[in-house]
Amino acid sequence: MKRLFLILMATFLAAGLYAQGLKIGDKAPDFRLKNVDGKMVSLADYPQVKGFIVIFSCNHCPFVKAYEDRIIDLHKKYAPKGFPVVAINSNDPEVVPEDSFDKMVERAQQKNFPFVYLFDEGQKVYPLYGAARTPHVFVLSKKANELFVEYIGTIDDNYKDASAVKEKYVENAVDALLSGKKPAVTETKAVGCSIKVKK
């Protein structure tokens, strides 16, 4: 009985840890991470934007691969409107060698990523956001030089088949923000790869 209690407590604690991180309406923290072109990038480096589509991503995850082309399209469609994609790889390459900085550079070149693809060295940024999986999207909007969380979740409702998508969650959220409204759907879930860090 005592052990069950402990297990239950551990489960709640674990759930509590995952629940930490950003919620809708929270201020989003900035960071300074190395891009695949070798330059350091902060969100503050983009004074002209209206917001960001921050995507916790990586190289190895099959769900990320299934979404790669759609992420490129998101950036092409929304960067000119003021919402560029910022992709962040928070996996520890010692756990997943395929997600090393060098491999990120390779992947970015192969796919000709039009967006920045940043390496979260030391895996420090993902806990601030509460990112748990890849791909995990945070749509941020800018008000008076502060960034606020408007949407957390998945890109759309069909990872397998882009042509069978019924709801484009991220596009809908950004479209709403562009027309001065709040997104109708603010949180969604999807299966993804866990973010891989050393224990």
Partner: protein, 166 residues
Amino acid sequence: MHRLVLIFLTSLILLGCNTGRKLNYDKIEVIDFSKLEPMLNKNTDTVYIINFWATWCAPCVKEFPHFDEAARVYSDKKVKFLMVSLDFPNQLEKSLIPFVKSRTNLLPVVLLDDPNQNEWINKVNPAWSGALPATFIYRKSQKLFYEGPIELADITNAIDDLLVKP
């Protein structure tokens, strides 16, 4: 007396054969969530262990033998396992079936193919972010949920505790 021992030994062997029945993985069923949902809400004496995993997920592959071992240990108890693969259906023949065949002959495996993840993830457990692996262990209304890797001791402790609950 000798005959008694012989009968005893024979029944042990027969029991052993019985619990060691091997599953065949030539066909693995592809299901949607409506088919999985009843397995998550059984109101019986049995402890259910449902693991969400995929062959491409390294921590899932690492913990897969723990479930096989637990299935062996509890083969004569009211304990049922289900390994729910989230491999892409086009990887069924190439990846999933060979993997499963090489790792177990005890664990039932299904492939969950249901794009409507935003709805069914919360029905599995509202605390689940959707990241793999994840494990749901329950008996009646006693429920335990683990997001992230699980150790063999976590599985056996949870089963032991749930089995002795009234």
